[in-house]
Structures are given as structure tokens and as C-alpha cells.
């Protein structure tokens, strides 16, 4: 499903006192089935951008459209409900939203809000548990008694349980150990490809961008500074420097090797496999 931003500005204003726009004049189009990374320094407005997609933040100027639904400064309850059913949104530290007596009940919360039948819910929960690696024995436990990593899985499973077409992920792996992080991201990526989801993911880790994303939106000071294919982005050193973005580990390694050797490889490598292939091709190793 298409997501488009058309000259959108937005702020967190409440009541009459004027506030500066936090997001300014955003225009972008996210293509159906793409995996888009949202990157930029802290406070750039990345999380706010994600909130626009399911109407948790409404534009003060301009419009956001998600499929056929269009949000402007005013949005009907119907439109909100419709979009929120399609958009699965994981906030930073999603485990803070767990509340029910048992893991099962928590997973069933979203589907029930969207009026799925109990039978449907049961099969869906089975599916998402399998997908996210939640052991069936956990279903009757209290979510508060789980470890941090398990809680994260349950929280993400609870979001997948509503069967979204669009996944919006705000640093889904922040604060996890490298192993758990890789598992969760791989799982989300596999789901993205298998179900042909449209995915947006905020991340501070350029390796995630290199491994998972097709394109990247670069944000700074509440504006979209660039929206490019990942390969184009990492080829544009000036842009990276301007917004203090790192490069993926493989590329940084490549740059160090090139500096030491005084020669350049033909292509910029984004992943370690690409780098290894490049090195072998050029006969450096």
C-alpha cells in the first residue's frame, strides 16, 4: 500500500498557544512492498514522522495518505480505525505497553479491538508465536514475569497479531543484546518479504540500513533532507558527513583498507559478503 506525504507540517500543539512546527514541509512517497529506513540524528523528528502514518499525530498543513485513506488536520474516527487496523506500529520500547493478566490476553488485545472473532484470534496467535519464537508454555504466564527480551517479543507479536499490511517500527531492537537483536530483525525482515508488507523502520544502526532496507529517508531538524536508494545514499559521502551519519561496518572497513593501500575498490561494499567478494575480485587477498 502506498504511503505519501504531501507538503506536511505538524506539531504537538495543544490548545491555543502557538508552537513551532516540529515537522516541516515533508514530501515523500513510500512505495508498496518497500523496506524504508528512517535515519537521522536524535530529535530529528523520526518518531514523529512515524506517528503521522497512523494518525497519532495529525498534519497541521498538508496531507498524509495511506492507501485510499487521507489524513488532513481533521480526521474522522472511521478513517483512524481503518488505518490503524492496517498499520502495525511498534514504538520505542514496545514492552511498556504490556498490561494483561496473561501473554495470551495481551496478544488478543489488538485483534479484539479490530473485531476479529475469537476463533480467528486463536489461530492468529498460534501463528505469531511461531513467527516470533514465543514458546507456547509462555502463553499462560503474566507478561510482567518475563525477561526483557521475551517481553519485547511478546510486544512485537501483539502488533503482528492484528495482521497489518504496513509495519512501522521505531528502533525495534534498541536495548537488546546482539543475538536477540539479529533474531528479531531477521524475523521482521522475513515477514516483510513473505507477506509483501510495506515497512518503515527507524534505526541508528547503519548496518541495519545496509542489510535490510531498500531505501532510506534522512531526517534532520524536522525536515526530510534526502530520500534515496540505500546504495546511492552510502555512495554520497558529503551527505553522510553533513548529517553525521556513520557508514556500515563493511564500508568503514573498506575505507580503511583503501586508505592503507592507497587504491580503491570498484564498488562500495555495504555488507561483509560484498566486501569479501570485492577483495577477492580485485585480488587484494
Amino acid at each position: 500500500m502506498n504511503i505519501t506525504f504531501n507538503r506536511v507540517s505538524a506539531n504537538y500543539q495543544l490548545g491555543p498557544i502557538k508552537q513551532e512546527n516540529i515537522l516541516r514541509d515533508l514530501t515523500a512517497e513510500v512505495l508498496p512492498g518497500s523496506f524504508t529506513a528512517v535515519i537521522g540524528p536524535t530529535g530529528a523528528g523520526k518518531s514523529s514522522l512515524l506517528k503521522l502514518i497512523n494518525g497519532l499525530l495529525l498534519p497541521s498543513v498538508g496531507e498524509v495518505s495511506v492507501g485510499e485513506v487521507v489524513f488532513t488536520a481533521k480526521a474522522s474516527k472511521e478513517a483512524l480505525k481503518q488505518v490503524r487496523k492496517r498499520v502495525g506500529m511498534a514504538f520505542q520500547f514496545p514492552e511498556h505497553q504490556l498490561f494483561a493478566d496473561t501473554v495470551y490476553e495481551d496478544l488478543a488485545f489488538g485483534p479484539r479491538n479490530f473485531n476479529m472473532s475469537e476463533k480467528e484470534i486463536e489461530t492468529t496467535i498460534k501463528e505469531v508465536c511461531q513467527l516470533t519464537g514465543i514458546d507456547r508454555s509462555l502463553l499462560e504466564r503474566s507478561p510482567f514475569s518475563l525477561s526483557g527480551g521475551q517481553q519485547r517479543r511478546v510486544a512485537i507479536a501483539g502488533i503482528l497479531a492484528t495482521k497489518p499490511d504496513i509495519l512501522v517500527l521505531d528502533e525495534p531492537a534498541a536495548g537488546l543484546d546482539p543475538e536477540a537483536k539479529k533474531q528479531i530483525l531477521d524475523m521482521l525482515y522475513d515477514l516483510h518479504t513473505a507477506e509483501k508488507l510495506t515497512t518503515l523502520m527507524v534505526t541508528h544502526d547503519m548496518d541495519d540500513v545496509a542489510y535490510y532496507a531498500d531505501d532510506a529517508i534522512v531526517m534532520a531538524e524536522g525536515q526530510i533532507k534526502a530520500h534515496q536508494d540505500v546504495r546511492t545514499l552510502f555512495a554520497n559521502q558529503d551527505l553522510l558527513d553533513q548529517y553525521q551519519l556513520d557508514v556500515p561496518t563493511a564500508l568503514s572497513l573498506q575505507q580503511q583498507l583503501e586508505a592503507a593501500k592507497g587504491q580503491r575498490l570498484k564498488n562500495r561494499a555495504l555488507t561483509l559478503t560484498e566486501l569479501a567478494n570485492g577483495l577477492i575480485e580485485e585480488g587484494w587477498v
Partner: protein, 264 residues
């Protein structure tokens, strides 16, 4: 985050900001006390003007104060109307059964209204110009004598300052959890009372769980850093009583004399 005015501190450098928090706290309590003895029109005028002057001296814009009154406006109007219709005396303009609108009634309705507004304004002056932590220190200072009655004043003031410190976090978190549940299809503020109450569970429980967790962490940290209850302790932030504060006390005495002279 920007909704709550009462309890918010506005950094600044006005004369009122510079006063000793102990003086400000005492003055505000005293001022509110005096508001109950203003039976004369002239006194009402003096106190109203005084309140406005103090508010102007804080250099915080009037709209901020008015926002502080807004949540309470219905309560105030209710009290005022009640006062008007239940008081008799002077010229009677309107009279049905126990409902009377009289000259006296209108006047005391006006007094009630002003008293409420002034109470809110003056307490807002205190919280707008005093850091919560300074206010806690001032409260601690005033409660100190209770130590002799074995009231754990130190602990109370620590509790108060920790509580104040975490209010903004709690507000932020409330917003986050609300958003997360909304994203999962929850609709707040819809349906009958029972449904609305039930809708609060997904909001309140995570907040509780998280606050308890944080309280536990906090207790551990205090323990690790060697905090012991019941010890005598010194203060990092010393409150300094200045000449301005003494002048303020003189103002308090003058006010007292004015009020007394009108009441005899």
C-alpha cells in the same frame, strides 16, 4: 506535556523569582488566610490590585495565569452562583422561594469569585517562580519542628521531592502508553461509563508496573549510594534569607494592620 500549568516552573530572574522560597511559601499561605477576612469593598480592591501587581512582577504573561484558572472555572462559577442566590440583604432584585438575588448577594458573590481567583493566581505565582525542589526544601524547613514529635520529616521531604521529580516522566509515559494502545486499536473516551473504566486498564496497568519497577530501582540506588533513613543530614542547596525577604515580612505586617483596621 504542555497542559499542566499548576506545578509548572517558569525559569526567570524577576524579583519574585529571587525571593527565598521559605518566604514565598509563608507569604502565600498568609495571603490566602487574609483573603477570608476581606469584608470591605475597599479591602477587596486593594487585594485584587496587589495580586495583579505581584503577578506582573513575575514577568510571566497573563495568559499563563488564565490557563491555570481554566480547569477550575466551573467550580468557581458554581460557588459564586450559590453564594449569590443564598444571600439576602439590601435591595432585592429578584425573589422566588429560596432563590434570591439581592444587592448583598451580588456583592458577596463577587467577593467569593475574587477570592477564588486570587487564591489560584497567588499560588500559581508561587509555583511558577519557585523550582519544585526549592519548594520542597521550604516545606521541609517549615515542617522541621515536627521532628520533635517524631514525625519523619527528612523522609517526607525526600519522598515529596522524588514524587515531584517524576511527575513529568509519568505524564510523558502516559502519553506514550496511550499512543501504543491507540495503535493497537484502542479508542479512549468512548462508550458508557463502564466501558470507559474498562478502557483504562490497558493504560493504567503498564504505568503502574513501570512505576513500581522504577521505584524499586530507585530504592536500590539509594541503598547502594549509602542512604540511611533517620540520619541527620546537611543540605547541598542552602536557602538564603535576604534583605528583600525581610522587606516582604514588613509588607505582610502592613497588610495585617490594614485588614485589622477595616475590621474594627
Amino acid at each position: 506535556m504542555n497542559r499542566l500549568i499548576i506545578g509548572r516552573y517558569f525559569p526567570g530572574n524577576s524579583l519574585i523569582h529571587q525571593l527565598d522560597p521559605r518566604f514565598k511559601l509563608i507569604f502565600v499561605l498568609y495571603f490566602i488566610g487574609l483573603l477570608f477576612f476581606l469584608d470591605h469593598f475597599f479591602l477587596q480592591v486593594i487585594f485584587f490590585i496587589l495580586t495583579l501587581v505581584i503577578m506582573m512582577m513575575t514577568r510571566v504573561s497573563l495568559s499563563i495565569y488564565i490557563r491555570g484558572v481554566r480547569p477550575l472555572i466551573w467550580l468557581i462559577l458554581f460557588a459564586t452562583v450559590l453564594r449569590i442566590i443564598t444571600t439576602r440583604g439590601g435591595v432585592v432584585y429578584f425573589d422566588v422561594g429560596f432563590l434570591t438575588v439581592s444587592h448583598f448577594g451580588l456583592l458577596s458573590g463577587l467577593y467569593t469569585f475574587l477570592r477564588f481567583i486570587e487564591m489560584i493566581f497567588i499560588s500559581t505565582v508561587l509555583t511558577l517562580t519557585t523550582k519544585p525542589i526549592d519548594l520542597t526544601d521550604a516545606i521541609y524547613f517549615l515542617l522541621k519542628p515536627l521532628r520533635y514529635l517524631y514525625v519523619p520529616v527528612e523522609e517526607l521531604s525526600l519522598m515529596l521531592s522524588i514524587a515531584l521529580r517524576f511527575i513529568p516522566n509519568l505524564l510523558d509515559e502516559t502519553e506514550k502508553v496511550m499512543n501504543a494502545q491507540r495503535a493497537r486499536g484502542m479508542v479512549f473516551g468512548e462508550g458508557n461509563l463502564l466501558e470507559q473504566m474498562r478502557a483504562l486498564t490497558p493504560l493504567v496497568l503498564p504505568l503502574f508496573a513501570h512505576s513500581l519497577k522504577r521505584a524499586e530501582d530507585m530504592a536500590d540506588v539509594l541503598e547502594v549510594k549509602g542512604y540511611k533513613s533517620g540520619e541527620k543530614r546537611t543540605h547541598y542547596r542552602a536557602l538564603i534569607w535576604g534583605f528583600k525577604d525581610t522587606l516582604g515580612v514588613v509588607l505582610m505586617l502592613v497588610l495585617m494592620l490594614v485588614v485589622i483596621s477595616f475590621n474594627i
